[in-house]
């Protein structure tokens, strides 16, 4: 009997799509049960969404005012208390999961497997190192609880189930620290599709030249119902907010279609798009490294190419 506990990611009201990806990773482990822990100030809506995912056995709901913000110092001790009877504890490899899970693993006194990209056996996992330039297979010795984050670009999302799993209120006896306090969140994104789950992504680089010129990228993205990404150079230059950065230290994404405009293709950026279905690159420089990984390349000036695409797409 192996039991998996997944830490749900949410924004306080809705479940983040990364949680459904952890469920399918857990299913790949051949586990006997998959439970999801929802820690929030108000859990109802989030827990209901989690309970509706295929493969979920039970949802554990922990409703406390302290869980209003996703503070690792507050979440981790509760997760460890919940994890007592589980063999695996999973979280998505998002900034949330990366923040919380190592803290929980250390409290439990066990190492962590980061960024599982493939389950090679019940205790064997593949994960990328060196920005994805090498893949290692790691095994966890028997007898040790496994804490792991799931590389969400590598997993498919568990679909909705016909019947919802039961939701149980969990009582946790963990003392929570007051030394860390949430001040606020300045959200970067708008109404566009979420970069990490969008089926199409339009991305811009330093060649855009200014924040205003990025409107070209937004315009095309809206026409394609696409999410918007950017290279580190464009973020560093202040053209777009940090949450749009794609790459080794930004977001790792796997859309069906990735359109890169004016992105030269530093290896750290390419790491973030390797799992994309089709990569299209438009760049003035025929020698830009992005063309080495692009499925379709076009040498051209993005300031001419984007309006031309828009005209061709019409309406």
């Amino acid at each position: 009997m192996s039991k998996v506990l997944i830490l749900a990611e949410h924004d306080g009201s809705a479940l983040n799509a990364s949680t459904a990806k952890c469920v399918s990773c857990a299913a790949d482990m051949g586990s006997d049960s998959i439970d999801i822990a929802v820690l929030a100030a108000q859990t109802d809506g989030i827990a209901a969404e989690a309970a509706a995912l295929t493969g979920v056995t039970q949802v554990l709901s922990v409703e406390r005012p302290e869980n209003a913000a996703p503070l690792a110092a507050v979440i981790a001790p509760q997760l460890v208390a919940l994890a007592a009877d589980y063999d695996y504890v999973l979280a998505p490899s998002t900034t949330f999961g990366k923040d919380v899970l190592p803290r929980a693993a250390a409290l439990a006194g066990v190492p962590q497997v980061s960024d599982i990209m493939e389950v090679a056996g019940p205790r064997r996992f593949k994960r990328p190192i060196y920005a994805g330039n090498a893949i290692i297979t790691v095994s966890v010795p028997e007898g040790s609880k496994i804490f792991a984050t799931v590389r969400i670009a590598s997993s498919r999302a568990a679909p909705a189930a016909n019947e919802a799993a039961p939701i149980t209120a969990a009582d946790i006896n963990a003392s929570l620290p007051a030394h860390t306090r949430f001040v606020g969140l300045q959200a970067g994104g708008g109404d566009r599709p979420d970069l990490q789950t969008a089926r199409r992504v339009v991305s811009g680089g330093r060649a855009l030249g200014s924040s205003d010129n990025f409107d070209l990228i937004y315009g095309l993205a809206d026409k394609l119902a696409a999410g918007v990404g950017a290279s580190r150079a464009a973020v560093d230059a202040g053209y777009v907010p940090n949450d749009m950065q794609v790459g080794q230290t930004g977001k790792i994404i796997a859309p069906d279609l990735y359109l890169a405009f004016g992105i030269s293709g530093a290896i750290q950026h390419l790491t973030g798009i390797k799992d994309a279905g089709t990569i299209v690159a438009v760049n003035k420089d025929p020698d830009a490294p992005i063309f080495e990984v692009a499925d379709i390349g076009l040498v051209g000036d993005l300031f001419e190419v984007i309006p031309e695409i828009e005209r061709a797409l019409g309406g």
Binding site: K98, T278, G297
Partner: protein, 249 residues
């Protein structure tokens, strides 16, 4: 206040990584080694805090074999006051590193520990969080801004949803993101001066830290390569190719 900064020796970020033919690791012979870039940002931040008068001493710490002295000397040349090398000949995992750093914390009692959010070799992104857990202190990961006010710090964190601000009581662990600062360049006279700064060496064993057998790496492989792409001549050809693949309407 003292600030402890952790510096990991890693393959330089410009090196093209190659997996050894026997799958036992990546090629590191004759390869340029550097301070993990995120740790360099951590050191820069510590130096700026000291220069602003909010800290008196910056201590650089590395864990690894004797070659790590090179990176510690670079850290001293950047401006760290002294360095500590915790020696070990085997690669250690983040939990062991966190246990070792905790022992140094007990001796030095820093007000801040700053380290990179991840090392660019194993990309684990764990050590700072694990250290904060073992130390039972706050953590502020992925920091892009750090403001000190007495015994508190306000940190702006780069998270998936945007920029998050949290306030922590000191002492605390901070892990750095890329936009926290731009590290200074080392000047030649500073390299000379750094040779005279104290560098203490001790072993993991002397700290009472035993290496636990955690994860075992079975093999290393190169990532699957993408199929060779095509070049198109114009927008019309681009769009018809995308339509053929059913990627646009």
């Amino acid at each position: 206040m003292k600030i402890l900064v952790c510096l990991k020796r890693v393959v330089d970020y410009n090196v093209r990584i190659r997996v050894k033919p026997d799958a036992s690791g990546v090629v590191t012979d004759g390869v340029k080694m550097s301070i993990n870039p995120f740790d360099e940002i951590a050191l820069e931040e510590a130096l700026r805090i000291r220069e602003a008068g909010d800290a008196q001493e910056v201590i650089a710490l590395s864990i690894g074999d004797a070659d790590c002295q090179q990176q510690l000397r670079t850290g001293l040349a950047m401006g760290a006051d002294r360095a500590i090398l915790v020696g070990t000949d085997t690669a250690i995992e983040p939990l062991t590193a966190a246990r070792a750093i905790l022992e140094i914390i007990k001796r030095e009692e820093p007000g801040l520990v700053i380290l990179g959010k991840q090392a660019i070799d194993d990309d684990c992104n764990q050590t700072g969080q694990m250290l904060a857990a073992l130390w039972d202190r706050p953590q502020a990961t992925f920091a892009s801004k750090l403001q000190l006010a007495g015994d508190k710090a306000t940190i702006t964190r780069e998270v998936d949803a945007g920029l998050e601000q949290i306030e922590v009581d000191l002492p605390a662990v901070i892990t750095t993101d890329l936009r926290l600062n731009e590290p200074r360049y080392v000047k030649l006279p500073d390299i000379m001066k750094a040779k005279k700064k104290p560098l203490e060496s001790l072993s993991l064993g002397e700290l009472g830290v035993t290496e636990t057998l955690g994860l075992q790496i079975e093999d290393y492989a190169s990532p699957p390569e993408r199929a060779k792409g095509i070049m198109v001549g114009d927008v019309t050809e681009l769009l018809s190719t995308l339509r053929d693949k059913d990627l646009i309407g």
